[in-house]
């Protein structure tokens, strides 16, 4: 009797732990909140010499949602599967560069002498940013397959750079270090560590009710 009770308790605990680790969220707002909460380890931030650097891990579900439901409330299963396939081989981060809390400047213009330097910086940020970014996984350096600066038309002092890596290049179940070797703002080599457990604990986004 005592033993069966222990087995049942153990089984219940296992089920509870399993359900906790495999949690699912159906509300996109709550999902975004989860991703943005620094306690969940998916946003890392540091400041050097007045420059704030924030790196955010973007799970595939987040991108699939943005892509699939940007313009429509619901979507056909086949189209949804195609979109999901498009993102299945990538691992994405967003690097946000801007002034820290004590400063107010436009990151694309800070510490520049003239228009030529501004043009050079914009070109580097738009087209050559991949040269400054890599991942370190299990001692292996991985280069991005795509970097893209999001255009904000000067509405914000910060700039977002979307960085995409090939998922197959990244060793699964390992801590990931996002490395930004800065050559523009004198902040040096900056590393942002993402814990494998935090990545594994990301809840899945439940699309069920929006797919026809």
């Amino acid at each position: 009797m005592g033993n069966s009770f222990r087995y049942i308790l153990l089984l219940s605990l296992t089920c509870l732990l399993w359900s906790c680790s495999q949690s699912s969220i159906s509300d996109f707002g709550k999902y975004v909140k989860y991703l943005s909460n620094p306690k969940n380890g998916l946003v890392k931030e540091k400041s050097v010499a007045g420059i704030s650097m924030k790196v955010k891990y973007l799970p595939n579900d987040y991108q699939v949602y943005n892509d699939a439901f940007k313009t429509s409330e619901s979507i056909d299963q086949k189209v949804f599967n195609d979109i999901k396939d498009n993102y299945s081989n990538s691992t994405t981060f967003v690097l946000t560069l801007g002034p820290d809390e004590e400063h107010k400047f436009d990151i694309t213009r800070v510490d520049l002498a003239d228009y030529d330097e501004y043009a050079e910086r914009i070109e580097r940020m738009n087209f050559n940013f991949g040269e400054f970014i890599s991942l370190e996984v299990d001692g292996i350096e991985i280069q991005p397959t795509l970097t893209q600066m999001e255009s904000l038309y000067g509405l914000k002092k910060t700039r977002d750079i979307v960085v995409v890596f090939n998922k197959e290049d990244i060793q699964p179940n390992a801590d990931i270090k996002f490395v930004f070797k800065d050559k523009m703002f004198n902040t040096g080599i900056n590393k942002f560590k993402f814990d494998k457990n935090d990545i594994a604990a990301i809840p899945t986004l439940d699309f069920g009710h929006r797919i026809m």
């Binding site: 890392k44 050097v48 270090k177 800065d182 040096g188 080599i189 900056n190 942002f192 560590k193």
Partner: protein, 182 residues
């Protein structure tokens, strides 16, 4: 009535005494905490400096390799020119001389560019490291309640510091963990 005034006066004076005591404790606590950091050791033992130096050296070696190949090309043409003179082949000698001057110009230009680029890279690397360490010292001071951390430089601007006030190892550990993104 007199008793009530007496009680109020007692409570008020007690409150003022506690306030003054807390204020005094705060003054003698956090704000007097001063430490010293040995900048030279901090900079050279900092992992960010080691990584940046490794990268800088690799880049320098690649540039040097390019410079070496131009130099050996010049050496080869010079040998050919010597052979041309021995053999009396004036036409080839003239052609080789032209080639030599052209490559020599490229070589000097390349050397000049490399020196300029190396200086830029070095300055960028140093300022990046110094900025990162300054940020770490500031953060360490705030987290550990220091009102001042004095940086002792190569000029030995701090001639004596007790071991307890030397924060170099602690700040180095802190800076390295920050550098590693932890």
């Amino acid at each position: 009535m007199k008793d009530l005034y007496g009680k109020i006066a007692f409570v008020l004076s007690l409150a003022i005494a506690v306030f003054l005591l807390v204020d005094k404790l705060q003054l003698t606590g956090n704000s007097d905490k001063v430490g010293v950091v040995q900048m030279e050791k901090l900079v050279y033992d900092y992992q960010g400096m080691k990584d940046a130096t490794e990268e800088y050296t690799a880049k320098m070696n690649a540039w040097q390799g390019q410079s070496d190949s131009l130099e050996s090309m010049l050496q080869r043409i010079y040998t050919e020119m010597k052979m041309d003179s021995i053999e009396g082949d004036l036409q080839k000698l003239r052609k080789d001389q032209e080639r030599f001057v052209l490559i020599q110009q490229q070589y000097y230009q390349y050397q000049e560019n490399v020196q300029k680029k190396a200086k830029e890279e070095d300055e960028q690397m140093t300022s990046g490291i110094i900025n990162q360490l300054n940020e770490c010292i500031k953060k360490y001071a705030k987290q550990n309640g220091y009102s001042m951390i004095i940086a002792n430089t190569q000029m030995e601007n701090v001639s004596y510091v007790e071991d307890a006030q030397d924060l170099t190892d602690e700040i180095l550990d802190f800076a390295n963990s920050q550098y590693n993104g932890e």
